[in-house]
Structure formats: structure tokens, C-alpha cells
């Protein structure tokens, strides 16, 4: 774990990615404890639609709310949803993928067909269905994104698990009589950490993107809680008058996704089995 972090810092794009993610985490925490320049919900009626200034670094919106403070809270929202949904998908997907690979034949077929059914739904539509059933909101977004991403984790885990199953050290374990639980956890799971880590960071990027999309459609986090997608959607009609209302949320979303993508890429480079073969 520590080695991975150190390697990430050494990696040129990993450094940047890690920095952005760290920055966003800090901002999210600041927003959560209320350390924002202004109260994000407060409407400064005298300062509506003002461009960036000394008091309001990123300007204000139609209702006189400080864009920057809202962005900070919005980042927090996005991060919570992203981490929670990915945690769900990772857990569910890994269990399904691992068991499908381990049990093989019939169960593999059944489980992966079930995953295929989920995958045959375009992501947004599946999310829409779930949101329609449960009603829009933060928790729903978490569930929707989590369920949509689960089959992807199952796929990502199943492939490597299948080839690990055939490796000599698993055969060796069988000759000792090691229990299935031992083999699954110590032999398979431990060696799946690498591809999983990469996929988790990429999933986080995708979760951010999807969450923003859902809020853009008005189906994610509901007002008055600020959310990045909603801010962008609201800015559409005021584009010509107040471009800053569009630029800052857009940049914030992009930078967040970029951060996770860069980190994921760097992890992939570091954990590439080719670079791990250090002997002749």
C-alpha cells in the first residue's frame, strides 16, 4: 500500500492525479464542516448575477448565491456519491465475479448472464428506471450508479480470476489440501488487488461523470443542496449573461474526473505485470 502511494507520487501523471484527488477531498471536508467563504444557501439579494469579484471569487447566481461556496459543497456531494456507489459496486461485483470464476461452468454461466442482462441496459436508462422507482435524491444516485457499475466489476474480476485459478500456486494449494476459503482470499483475492485498484479509480471517475449527468437532468441531488451537474444545467439559459456560472462548474467537473482518470492510469502503469518481472 505504501509502496503503491510512493510509486504514484514518482509517476508523472500519477502525481498530478493524486494531487487533484487530494485537493478535492480537502475541499469536500472543508465544505462539510462549513468552512466556505459564504453560506452556500444564503441569497445575497443585492449581489445577484455578479461576475467574479473580491467578495465573491467566482461570482454569484440568479438568486445571489456565492458560486464558490456552492461549488465546494457540490464537490462534497459528488465525492460522497462517487465513493459510496463505487464501494457498493466493488463489493458486489467482486463477489459475483470471483464466485463465477471459482465455481465455473453452470454457475459461471448463470451469474454472468445475469450480469449481461444488466449490461444490456444502457447505463443512463437503468439509472433512470431506478430513480423513477425510488425517487430522485442522493441515496438513489448512489444505488443507481452502484447497480449499473456492478457488472463491470464482475467482468473485470472474473477474467483475471479465471487465469489465476490455473496458476501453479493454486495447484500447489490443492496438493496441500488448503481450504477453499484460504485459496479464494489469500491466493485469488490478494492477487486481484492490482486490477481492482485500477478499476476502482476509473470507476470513481465514471461515477463523478454520471452523477453530474444525472443532476444535469434534474434527477440527482435535489435542490437546494448544490450539485455540480445542476449548477451547470441552470447556467445553460444564462450563458450569455453570466458565463462564469457555466465555466466554473464545468471546469470543476472536468478537473475531478481528470484527477481520478490520471490516478487510475498511473496505477495501471505501475501495476503492469510487465514492469513487475524484475528477473532475467
Amino acid at each position: 500500500m505504501k509502496k503503491a502511494l510512493a510509486a504514484l507520487i514518482r509517476h508523472p501523471s500519477g502525481r498530478i492525479g493524486l494531487f487533484i484527488v487530494g485537493l478535492y477531498l480537502i475541499i469536500a471536508i472543508l465544505g462539510a464542516v462549513g468552512l466556505t467563504p459564504h453560506n452556500p444557501l444564503q441569497q445575497f439579494m443585492l449581489d445577484r448575477l455578479k461576475p467574479p469579484s473580491g467578495n465573491f471569487w467566482m461570482g454569484t447566481d440568479l438568486l445571489g448565491r456565492d458560486t464558490m461556496s456552492r461549488l465546494m459543497l457540490g464537490i462534497g456531494q459528488s465525492m460522497i456519491i462517487a465513493f459510496a456507489s463505487v464501494a457498493f459496486a466493488t463489493l458486489a461485483g467482486t463477489v459475483i465475479g470471483l464466485l463465477a470464476a471459482w465455481w465455473g461452468s453452470l454457475w459461471d454461466g448463470i451469474l454472468m448472464r445475469l450480469m449481461d442482462v444488466l449490461l444490456a441496459f444502457p447505463a443512463i436508462l437503468l439509472a433512470l428506471l431506478i430513480i423513477a422507482i425510488v425517487g430522485p435524491g442522493t441515496l438513489t444516485s448512489v444505488a443507481a450508479i452502484g447497480i449499473v457499475y456492478t457488472p463491470i466489476f464482475a467482468r473485470v474480476v472474473r477474467g483475471p480470476a479465471l487465469s489465476l485459478k490455473r496458476r501453479d500456486f493454486v495447484d500447489a494449494a490443492r496438493t496441500f489440501g488448503s481450504s477453499q476459503r484460504y485459496v479464494l482470499t489469500r491466493h485469488l483475492l490478494l492477487n486481484l488487488v492490482a486490477p481492482l485498484a485500477v478499476q476502482v479509480t476509473l470507476a470513481l471517475a465514471w461515477a463523478l461523470l454520471t452523477e453530474a449527468g444525472l443532476s444535469f437532468l434534474g434527477l440527482g441531488t435535489q435542490p437546494p443542496t448544490p450539485s455540480l451537474g445542476l449548477m451547470l444545467s441552470e447556467s445553460k439559459n444564462l450563458m450569455t449573461q453570466a458565463p462564469w456560472l457555466m465555466i466554473f462548474p464545468a471546469l470543476t467537473i472536468m478537473l475531478g474526473i481528470l484527477g481520478f482518470n490520471l490516478t487510475g492510469d498511473a496505477l495501471r502503469d505501475i501495476l503492469d505485470p510487465r514492469t513487475q518481472r524484475r528477473d532475467a
Binding site: R167, D168, F169, D171, A172, A173, R174, T175, F176, G177, S178, S179, Y182, R186, H187, L190, N191, V193, Q276, R278, D279, A280
Partner: protein, 576 residues
């Protein structure tokens, strides 16, 4: 006569600072037209890098020539310094003046092009032949390398051919332009012994026909004894000895050369077999295998598979304590499947495997071929050694750790190895770890499936010595599977020869190796390269391995044996 190739003080390095990471440190040699030079060394010696520098292919792998010169005399009489030439000048040289064949025929051919297309490309690039002329040339060269049914093969894809055939095709491509120099980088290392003999014979014949010079890279000094005019021995990037073949083999001057010739296992037709056999004294076998049958269904019939691969077809043998039975065979012989079936890693259709009731619940343990793949890279040595014990109900306590330290010491590894991870050890050390792990449960029998095949020859010798020591100390019985006759000779008391899933000859090692009875055994032994055989010439023989696929329900005729000595049985061959 001017030299064809003149290499002077060649230095090659890798990475961002090649001068600081030199792999070849000042190598010099000359080559006359028509002469064959063998470069012999183990991994890390720099032999491949030297070869790849001659046509500057090393550049594409991240290498840089940091010093020295390579002067090549071209067909038109001009001389070219390869080290200073640019890509444009080098391209016509590659293929036209210098042909090359590589170690892995499986991955050296483009999987999405037919072999006909690939051979014709060689002709197009180097002899300006196109269309029908190129196709005709391809057919001719396929005939020359003895590929049967050449016309049909042109449309084949690489994956449809065997390793030996693929290597022949590589040779055919390299020959397309009648190069003055052929570089062969370990061309037979990945091939079976008999196939290797065929390829070597082919190369010798082609060399005589075309008069081309050859640089032959290998780790097996015995292999080149018959084909090389001069030998250069490399170690750690430096040429430690360089002379005519006869001089190097009969009067080696450098310690390392002597080591390669003497300390390393060489095949000597039974003369080096072990003396401490246990059969004479009688005794209760520690494991007995009877009529082992392993078949894999093939194809998808409507209700039941229509055919099966008969991987193991009725194998029987037994093992006395303290005895080593070596099982030799080539790919497809069924020897590895036999090993795996004994350990229940592969299910068997029939067969009794009776192990003597001993103190251990798992009296048979295994050491695998690839030391890197048989150790979980994420567990440290302590966890790896503890696994068998934990799996059998023992607790991870002081007594267990004591046993670990004891075994680590016996296999020659330091005590602090317990905290380290597999990747921190060399191949030979990892294999020692695997041996220690196999001994944790105090087994009666250890199955070694090509356990030293992936190691360098010097390391092989040490590990074999260790195994023999351990056998004598603990009274272990070994089932030693290998394709390498020299290694088998060194460690076995008895030998079983397997072919197409059946044992064709079994008995005392010395008897089987010095006086082989079955035709396959004779062919196998004749194909093994050895220093003493350097003046023998092999006939080119294109016998293929028979297919093991039989229709469902097929039963082979029962085995009939004859005795050829006190402990020497030969399977009677079917009358053709």
C-alpha cells in the same frame, strides 16, 4: 581472404544511461565466410545482445551500442560499419546479407498472416520477386527445409503448425535471400529433443549447401560440438574463452569453460547414472501406480463427446523409499499429466494409486516447473511455508517456525528469508523454497515436474545435488519428470520412457540408457547432443508425433512386455 564479419571491442548498454548499464563489455571476434561460430553462455552473459547487435535489432529493444565497431563485408565487396550506419543503410543489410532465426517459433510468426504470405514477403523484400515467382520460390524453399505437403501449407496460419515446423519456416524465411550470414539465437531451446536434432541436421545440411556463415547462440555447449568451427564462451558480458572447437572442448583454459564442460550435467549414455540403487535390496514400495488412464473429451457430440485425447493410457510403476524414478518423454508423451493425476490435480478415468500408510496425511507432494508461478507473489516466505501445515490443521506456532528454519537451512537459504517475498529471490533460490515447502509435511514421495528445466545449467547442477542430499538424508522417493536426458541421468536410479501416453521401456537407469531396446528410446537417445558425439552426423528425419485423439470408447490393445535384463522391461511394439 577478407573477413566476413569483424567485431572489435563491442560495448552495448540499456536504459536511459547505456554507458552505465553495459550488458556487453568489450567483445571482439572475427568470422570468415562459411565459418560457424558458437557463442555459449548462460542468462546474463550478453550472448543474445551481442548477436542482436550484429544486425542492430538491439536498438528496437532499448539497447544502444556504446562503443566498438562491427565491420560487415557485403556481397558486392563493400564494407559497412554496422555500428555507425543509419536505419536506411541497415534495412537492405537485414534480410539480404544477414538472416536471423529466433528462440520462440510460436511467437516469432505473425498470427494473422498465412505462412505463405510471410515467406513470400521475404522474397519480395530481398530478391524483388512478386506474384507467381514469389510463390514458386516459397514452395522451393519449403521443400528445402523438408516441410511435407508444401503447397497446402502455404495457406496455413502459424498456430496450425507444430513448433518444429514453425522453426523450419523461420529458417526458410531467413534463407530467402541466400544471406551470407545466418544468426541463430537459441533456435532449438524451446523444442523437443528429437525435433532439435532434426533442426540441427537441417542447419548443418543447409550450411554445406549454401556456404553461409553462421553465428549460433546457445547455453548448451554440447549442442554445438558437432556444428561449430569456433566457440566463444561468454560470462557477464565478457568473452572468457575463444578458440577452435576442438581446443575449447578438449583443452579448456578458463575456469568457467571447465565448469560448463564438467560441473554441468551432460548426457553420457548411462555412464553417469547413480550407483546407490535400492532395488536389489527389495522392500515395500512407498507408492504403487497401476493402470493409470487419463483421457480428455474432445469435440461436442450431441449427448456425449465423440472422441477423446488419450493423454495417459495405462501406466503402471512403483517406487521404493529413497529411490528416484525418472520419467522421460517429449511433449505429448503424457509424463506431466501422469504427475498431475497422481496428485489428483487432474481426474483419472481409471487406475489405482496406492500410497503406503505413513505418518503424513498427504504423503505425496509436488515441486512445479516454473518457480515464479508456483509461489504466490503476494505472500512472504513464512506464509508460503506455513500454508501446507495450516491446511492440515497445524497451528502457526513456535514449533512450526522451528521446522521452517530447519528446512530453510537444509535447502541452503538464509534464515532471514522468512520475511522476504518471492520476487526478491533468484530462480534457483525460488526453486529451493518450493522444495522446502514440499518437505513441510514430511512426505514420503516428492513429484518433481520439470523442476529444474527453467533454471540455468550451473544452477541446475546445484539444485540436483541438493535433491540428492535430501533424498539420502530423509529417505525420500522421487518421481522425476523431465525431457532433459542429461539431468535425468544424473538423478535417477530407474528410468521410464514415455511415448504417446504409454511407458515403452522401464528399468534400471544404466541399463536403459546404455542399452536401449525400444525403437523410440533408441531414437530419443540418439538425438541427445553430447560433446563426445561431435563427429556424428544426424540424418534428417521428418517423423511426426502421432495424434493422441481416438474415438470415444476406444481401448488400446493390452500391453505386452519382454524382459531385457534383471530390471529392464520393454514394451513390445505393434507389428506394422
Amino acid at each position: 581472404m577478407t573477413k566476413l564479419l569483424s567485431v572489435h571491442d563491442l560495448r552495448v548498454g540499456f536504459g536511459r544511461d547505456p554507458k552505465a548499464n553495459e550488458v556487453v563489455k568489450g567483445v571482439s571476434f572475427d568470422l570468415d565466410p562459411g565459418q560457424t561460430l558458437a557463442i555459449v553462455g548462460e542468462s546474463g552473459s550478453g550472448k543474445s545482445v551481442t548477436a542482436l547487435s550484429v544486425n542492430r535489432l538491439v536498438d528496437f529493444g532499448g539497447g544502444r551500442i556504446t562503443g566498438g565497431s562491427i565491420l560487415l563485408q557485403r556481397a558486392d565487396g563493400t564494407s559497412l560499419d554496422v555500428t555507425k550506419a543509419d536505419e536506411k543503410a541497415l534495412r537492405p543489410v537485414r534480410g539480404r546479407d544477414i538472416g536471423m532465426i529466433f528462440q520462440e517459433p510460436m511467437t516469432s510468426l505473425n498470427p494473422v498472416h498465412t505462412i505463405g504470405a510471410q515467406i513470400e514477403e521475404a522474397f519480395r523484400l530481398n530478391r524483388d520477386l512478386t506474384g507467381a515467382a514469389a510463390r514458386q520460390a516459397a514452395l522451393e524453399v519449403l521443400d528445402r527445409v523438408r516441410i511435407p505437403d508444401a503447397k497446402a501449407r502455404l495457406a496455413y496460419y502459424p498456430h496450425q503448425l507444430s513448433g518444429g515446423m514453425r522453426q523450419r519456416i523461420m529458417i526458410a524465411m531467413a534463407l530467402a535471400s541466400s544471406p551470407r550470414l545466418l544468426i541463430a539465437d537459441e533456435p532449438t531451446t524451446a523444442l523437443d529433443v528429437t525435433v532439435q536434432a532434426q533442426i540441427m541436421a537441417l542447419l548443418a545440411e543447409l550450411r554445406a549447401e549454401t556456404g553461409m556463415a553462421m553465428i549460433f547462440i546457445t547455453h548448451d555447449i554440447g549442442l554445438v560440438a558437432g556444428i561449430a568451427d569456433t566457440i566463444m564462451v561468454m560470462q557477464q558480458g565478457v568473452a572468457v574463452e575463444q578458440n577452435d572447437t576442438g581446443a575449447v572442448l578438449d583443452h579448456p583454459r578458463h575456469d568457467y569453460t571447465r565448469h560448463l564442460l564438467q560441473a554441468v550435467p551432460h548426457f553420457s549414455a548411462g555412464k553417469a547414472a547413480r550407483e546407490d540403487g535400492k532395488r536389489a535390496g527389495g522392500g515395500e514400495p512407498v507408492v504403487r501406480v497401476e493402470d493409470l488412464v487419463v483421457r480428455f473429451p474432445v469435440g461436442k457430440g450431441l449427448f456425449a463427446p465423440k472422441a477423446a485425447v488419450h493423454a495417459v493410457d495405462g501406466v503402471s510403476f512403483d517406487l521404493l523409499p529413497g529411490e528416484t524414478l525418472g520419467i522421460v518423454g517429449e511433449s505429448g508423451s503424457g509424463k506431466s499429466t501422469t504427475a498431475r493425476a497422481i496428485l489428483d490435480l487432474v481426474s483419472r478415468q481409471r487406475g489405482q494409486i496406492a500410497a503406503k500408510a505413513g505418518q503424513s496425511k498427504r504423503p505425496i507432494q509436488m515441486v512445479f516447473q516454473d518457480p515464479f508461478a508456483s509461489l504466490n507473489p503476494r505472500l512472504n516466505v513464512e506464509a508460503l511455508l506455513a500454508e501446507p501445515a495450516i491446511a492440515n490443521g497445524q497451528r502457526k506456532d513456535g514449533a512450526l517456525r522451528q521446522r521452517m528454519r530447519f528446512l530453510l537451512d537444509r535447502v541452503g537459504l538464509p534464515e532471514d528469508a522468512l520475511e522476504r517475498f518471492p520476487h526478491q529471490f533468484s530462480g534457483g533460490q525460488r526453486q529451493r523454497l518450493c522444495i522446502a515447502r514440499a518437505l513441510m509435511l514430511n512426505p514420503d514421495v516428492v513429484v518433481l515436474d520439470e523442476a529444474v528445466s527453467a533454471l540455468d545449467v550451473s544452477v541446475q547442477a546445484k539444485v540436483l545435488d541438493l535433491l540428492i542430499d535430501l533424498q539420502q538424508e530423509f529417505g525420500l522417493a522421487y518421481l522425476f519428470i523431465s525431457h532433459d536426458m542429461a539431468v535425468v541421468e544424473r538423478i535417477s536410479h530407474r528410468i521410464a520412457v514415455m511415448f504417446a501416453g504409454q511407458i515403452v521401456e522401464i528399468g534400471d537407469a544404466r541399463a536403459v540408457l546404455s542399452d536401449p531396446q525400444h525403437s523410440y528410446t533408441k531414437r530419443l537417445i540418439a538425438a541427445v547432443p553430447a560433446v563426445e558425439r561431435r563427429n556424428q552426423h544426424f540424418a534428417v528425419d521428418v517423423t511426426q508425433v502421432p495424434s493422441l485423439v481416438r474415438p470415444a470408447g476406444y481401448e488400446p490393445p493390452p500391453a505386452r512386455w519382454r524382459e531385457a535384463g534383471a530390471d529392464h522391461r520393454v514394451r513390445l511394439e505393434a507389428v506394422p
